[in-house]
């Protein structure tokens, strides 16, 4: 596994890159292995950013919903969530 001074080989890097590639939504649509490392990293960055934005939007929505809940609603919500 160790080659000269590096503790990571090219094969391992490629494997990690393809693992990351498999997680991206675009890979699921196309299912190809054609992405280069740079393109893949760029897509990963933008995907993470879009996920962050979604989390922010959902946080906004949840904060509104929680603030407008009353006691009986909250009990029903908890039961429902635990049944998921």
């Amino acid at each position: 596994m160790t080659t000269s001074r590096s503790s990571i080989t090219e094969a391992e890097i490629n494997e990690l890159i393809s693992k990351l590639h498999a997680l991206l939504p675009e890979a699921r649509r196309r299912g190809t292995h054609r992405a280069s490392a740079a393109k893949l990293l760029k897509e990963t960055c933008s995907y993470i950013k879009s996920l962050h934005r979604e989390v922010d939007d959902l946080s906004d929505r949840l904060s509104y919903l929680i603030s407008s809940m009353d006691v009986t609603t909250s009990q029903a919500e908890i039961i429902r969530s635990l049944l998921r």
Binding site: T3, S4, R5, S6, I8, T9, E10, E12, I13, N14, L16, I17, K19, L20, A22, L23, L24, A37, A38, L41, K42, T44, C45, Y47, I48, K49, L51, H52, E54, V55, D56, L58, S59, D60, R61, L62, S63, Y64, L65, I66, S67, S68, M69, T72, T73, S74, A76, E77, I78, R80, S81, L82, L83, R84
Partner: protein, 213 residues
Amino acid sequence: MASVPSSSSSSSPSQPKTRKKPGQNSSPPPPPQTKWQTGTQERLYSRRLVDALRATRDRTQVQESVGSRAVKEAADSALALTARGQSRWSRAILFGRNSCRRKLLVKAGGKIRRHRRKQHGAPPVAAAAAEPGVLKEQKVKERLRKLGRLVPGCRKLPAATLLEEAADYVAALELQVRTMRALAEALSAATVSAPEEEETEAVDPIAIAEQGS
């Protein structure tokens, strides 16, 4: 969501790994796709999320409303907890919240420095020695740096570790989004209709609330 997701949870997601050893374990960890997609993880996280949100609501003053940033922080902390401290980003989130940051940072091996702006020499200098060919390109290095900024606690990691952390983080974020959206749908349905109804339609809570009140 009336039906429980019947996913193939053949792999045991909750292996009792010690937190004191952030290095390699004898058996390889499950890939992030399966690890964060098991029904167990979803249920774990949704329960943690509900608890965290309830705690946040109890902490809020009577006149104030629960802030969106508090919700996000609660969701992130719950997500990091569900990761069981096995990944750097989760440890970085949890330790960043704690007031005694220094003590815990030293305990974690000193590798997580979220709030120290010490910029050492250009990271490529240390990493350029004996590396696979693709990592020597300038574009790739720039993008790796950008990725390191996005994942919490991963600013100065070597490329391989950073890629692993990023894969785990992406899968965890997807779980977070799924769970929060499902919770928001459940809450919308609960706020506007009678509690007996189980259907979760995609309604706009603000519009319905205006009609209902």
